[in-house]
């Protein structure tokens, strides 16, 4: 036995005699993971979270979450002698006096942008492939929760330096809290310790940002990963892949090397971004004061759609019985995001109800093979994109020399019109792609080779697919629409006939698709 093997053996012996983990560890080290590039999106989110923990810890060693006034006397000359909060001054100190400080700040900010982007990309992958279906609904809900907390965490994070831009964001957040009927004013006064801005919000959001939310992330991510592990990963449909097996590579060594290596790749790219691409140069904004503002104020991208909704909201307030209700703030800032996120969290249950589908699903859908769901996802994306574009309407207006009023009107109309159009177009595209798949399975791929027939006609030779590709393109499920009767045999109306009718109608839309070629059809064609 080699020396290293002996050492490993004695460590394993030590652990096993105290935990009995040998059988468990063996089982898990040989665990199989399916391979696909889109399964890396969630990994990117996980790795950026680790990068955020590491770089964030570095920043806490120097950041001073205090709103006490100090006169700046640091290395950055243009702000020398200016009165500012200790939070802002210590952020300048990190940026200009600590070696690697600015790099860490930039890595932290870039990692936060990537974190939210990766969560959303991962969520889209899970949605469009139907990975959220039973038994994974719980993990979907945890994911929606993680996205929500990530957006809040990011917002609190970029509010900490107490610069002019971040303070403006806090001011807007305060106005949204204040707009909540009945209790809003009280909540705002409790959160800010009195009238805006007060001297407590930086220390308070600091503890939420570095302790409360990261703790919540750790707990939720742990459960999220444990469920992935226990339920085993989903896999794309294909030859040899069934709902009862999982085909892929074992954790040790292939996945350890790939996933571990990928962490370093993500960290490396984030570092290069931090080195090369300047982000949030707070020294250019100056310290926060509520009486000033810079034109072109923009939140980070994951808040941009919310800001865009607020910008396009019609200016409606209710003034009655001595009270004011600001629909222009509540609708875009609270009600619409609330509906969006609740609908998103409940979607797995809505879909299973529509199809009366109680089965476990471990095989993913190709997006085209569920045209209705794909169209719904594209529609939601279109909604968010119009809102996001409107969130940058001032910058679009100045960069493209167009009228801000025109852009706003485009968004106001577009947010109502573009999503439904997107739905219809996406559904048509999916059905067309399905038709194309069917065509290829039944008639083969165009080879580009033209042959002249004896009677002078030209035809193109089609190459038939091999059995693997045929199976891949023709094996997807063909769910049927519900046909819940609204009347029983004797013609008496059953309970809740309207609900049944609606459910039938919706399930017809949800199951609309081009029939996959059957073996019989294929067989028939092969013989004529």
């Amino acid at each position: 036995m080699k020396k290293s093997e002996k050492a490993a053996g004695s460590v394993a012996n030590f652990v096993d005699e105290r935990t009995g983990a040998a059988a468990w560890a063996k089982k898990n080290l040989t665990k199989v993971f399916p391979d696909h590039w889109s399964f890396m999106l969630g990994e990117v989110a996980l790795y950026s979270f680790i990068i955020l923990l590491l770089s964030g810890t570095f920043l806490t060693f120097w950041f001073n979450p205090s709103q006490n006034d100090v006169v700046y006397k640091g290395a950055y000359q243009p702000l020398s002698g200016i009165s500012m909060s200790e939070a802002y001054a210590s952020t300048l100190h990190i940026s200009f006096d600590i070696r690697g400080g600015l790099l860490m700040r930039q890595i932290h900010h870039w990692a936060a942008l990537i974190f939210v982007a990766a969560i959303i990309a991962h969520l889209l992958r899970v949605f469009f492939t139907g990975a959220f279906r039973k038994p994974r609904e719980l993990n979907w809900i945890i994911g929606v929760g993680l996205l929500t907390f990530a957006i809040v965490e990011g917002f609190l994070g970029y509010s900490l330096p107490d610069d002019l831009l971040s303070g403006t964001g806090i001011r807007i957040a305060e106005a949204i809290i204040q707009a909540i009927p009945v209790v809003g004013t009280y909540i705002a006064f409790f959160v800010f310790g009195g009238p805006f801005p007060g001297a407590v919000f930086i220390p308070r959001i600091y503890i939420v940002h570095v302790l409360l939310l990261p703790g919540l992330f750790l707990a939720l991510i742990t459960v999220h990963l444990m469920l992935v592990w226990y339920q085993k990963h989903t896999q794309y449909p294909g030859p040899g892949r069934t709902n009862k097996n999982v085909v892929g590579y074992p954790l040790m060594p292939v996945y350890m090397a790939k996933a571990g290596g990928f962490f370093f790749v993500v960290f490396g790219i984030t570092s290069l971004l931090g080195a090369l691409a300047s982000i949030n140069p707070i020294w250019l904004y100056g310290p926060y004061t509520p009486g000033q503002i810079s034109a072109g104020s923009q939140p980070d991208w994951y808040m941009g759609w919310l800001d865009g909704l607020v910008r396009m909201a019609p200016n409606i307030e209710t003034h009655a019985f001595g009270h004011t209700i600001s629909w222009n703030i509540l609708a875009p800032g609270v009600i619409i995001p609330g509906i969006l996120f609740t609908g998103m969290a409940l979607y797995p249950f809505i879909e299973s109800w529509l199809l009366n589908d109680k089965l476990e699903h471990h095989l993913l859908d190709r997006p085209r093979n569920n045209p209705n769901r794909t169209a719904l996802g594209a529609m939601s994306l279109a909604f968010i994109l119009v809102a996001l574009i409107n969130g940058g309407n001032d910058l679009i207006a100045t960069h493209f020399k167009s009228s801000i009023n025109d852009i706003m009107w485009f968004s106001r109309i577009g947010i109502l019109v573009i999503p439904p159009i997107t739905f219809v177009i996406t559904k048509r595209i999916c059905l067309a792609l399905q038709r194309k798949d069917r065509e290829i399975v039944l008639h083969g791929r165009e080879s580009g080779r033209l042959v002249m027939m004896p009677h002078g006609e030209f035809v193109e030779v089609h190459t038939p697919l091999d059995k693997y590709d045929t199976y891949k393109l023709a094996s997807h499920p063909q769910p049927k629409a519900l046909e819940i009767p609204t009347h029983d045999e004797s013609g008496v109306r059953v309970k809740r006939p309207l609900v049944n009718k609606l459910r039938n109608r919706l399930s017809r839309a949800a199951t609309e698709q081009v029939a996959a070629p059957s073996g019989d059809e294929l067989h028939e064609l092969e013989h004529h």
């Binding site: 009195g194 069934t242 571990g260 104020s297």
Partner: protein, 340 residues
């Protein structure tokens, strides 16, 4: 659990599953030279990572001045120290990652493995056993028989819920009338901000705009800066389109509005001299100065509150009264139909 949805079975003649693709050997599996090449490639990547770390060390020791910057095409100016440290760190990490991934892809076994899934639902027996155990154990507590305990538990747990809510009470004071008050009242001088100088009407040219604060005993706190700022704008009196009351709040073509946006409290900082429009940079609410800051575009629902102004005996501009409505964003208790 069936392989697909139930309806699938009704399809005649499913296309048979041919099973997973046969394994294809890679170059490194069959050619010892290719294997050596792949090994070298991985080793070179690891070595490059070491060079990245050396670059980081050089940047850390050699560049202590964070003020020096270099200009990068497209990307703009970046700190020299940040550039070198970040590139060093980035290369060091990226190369480790690429080496590990290359190692896995080219040299580690790439045979696909098939593992079986198990159904999550427990057997009927286990489920029935679980239910009867829970029933038996819960029954042994005899909560239904012990009415007194049942009620007192409800009482104590319900009451203790008040503690976390009540203990947060001192997070802040009650709002009372604070959102309706500013430091403006009758006779308070308008002082330039910055500068803190009183202003005479003749100091303002037609078309000019000045930010003012009320005359305060000391420096303004941030809470005062969040509610007191006022924009002073001078127009030709003929440009006004105001009713008699609002016109009487102006002085010789000088009109004063709260600078705090009535939408979400941002500073309404952009004034367009030609059109007499005030624009809030946050959400683009646009106010027409000539018509008492009426909202002509954007999400704001109310005009900016107007401050009545006049001159005192020394000829300096003063407030003729405080604001007659609360400044800043709306809130539940705001009575928008009544003057303060």
């Amino acid at each position: 659990m069936s392989e697909n949805l139930e309806s699938d079975k009704e399809l005649s003649g499913k296309i048979p599953d041919p099973g997973i693709h046969p394994h294809v050997l890679r170059a490194a599996d069959v050619d010892p030279k290719a294997e050596k090449r792949a090994e070298k490639k991985v080793a070179i990547l690891f070595a490059l990572s070491g060079l990245g770390t050396l670059l980081f060390i050089w940047g850390f020791v050699g560049f202590t001045n964070n003020n020096s910057v270099v200009f990068l095409p497209i990307l703009g100016e970046v700190q020299t120290s940040q550039l070198i440290l970040g590139c060093g760190l980035g290369i060091a990490l990226l190369m480790i990652g690429l080496a590990a991934v290359q190692w896995a892809r080219q040299l580690m076994p790439d045979n696909e493995v098939i593992a079986q899934r198990h159904e999550f639902r427990s057997s009927d027996e286990a489920r029935a056993d679980f239910v009867s155990t829970v029933k038996e154990r819960a029954g042994s507590v005899q909560l239904g028989r012990r009415k007194l305990i049942k009620r007192s538990i409800g009482f104590s747990l319900g009451l203790i819920g008040i503690v976390p809510i009540l203990s947060l009470r001192d997070l802040g004071p009650l709002p009372r009338k604070q959102l309706e008050e500013t430091d403006w009242s009758k006779g308070i001088r308008l002082m330039t901000d910055p500068g803190k100088q009183p202003i005479k009407p003749e100091d303002l040219e037609v078309g000019s705009v000045v930010q003012v604060m009320p005359e305060l005993s000391g420096d303004a706190s941030l809470e005062q800066v969040a509610k007191d700022p006022v924009l002073l704008i001078r127009l030709r009196p003929a440009d006004f389109n105001l009713n008699a009351e609002r016109l009487s709040w102006t002085y010789n073509g000088i009109i004063a509005f709260s600078k705090i946006c009535s939408h979400m409290g941002c500073a309404v900082a952009l004034y367009e001299q030609q059109t007499h429009h005030l624009l809030c940079p946050c959400h683009q609410s646009t106010f027409d100065v000539t018509r008492a800051a009426k909202v002509i575009f954007g999400p704001a629902a109310r005009p900016l509150p107007q401050l009545p102004i006049t001159v005192d005996s020394d000829g300096f501009l003063v407030a003729a009264s405080g604001f007659l409505e609360p400044v800043g964003p709306s809130f539940w208790e705001r009575n928008s139909n009544k003057k303060i």
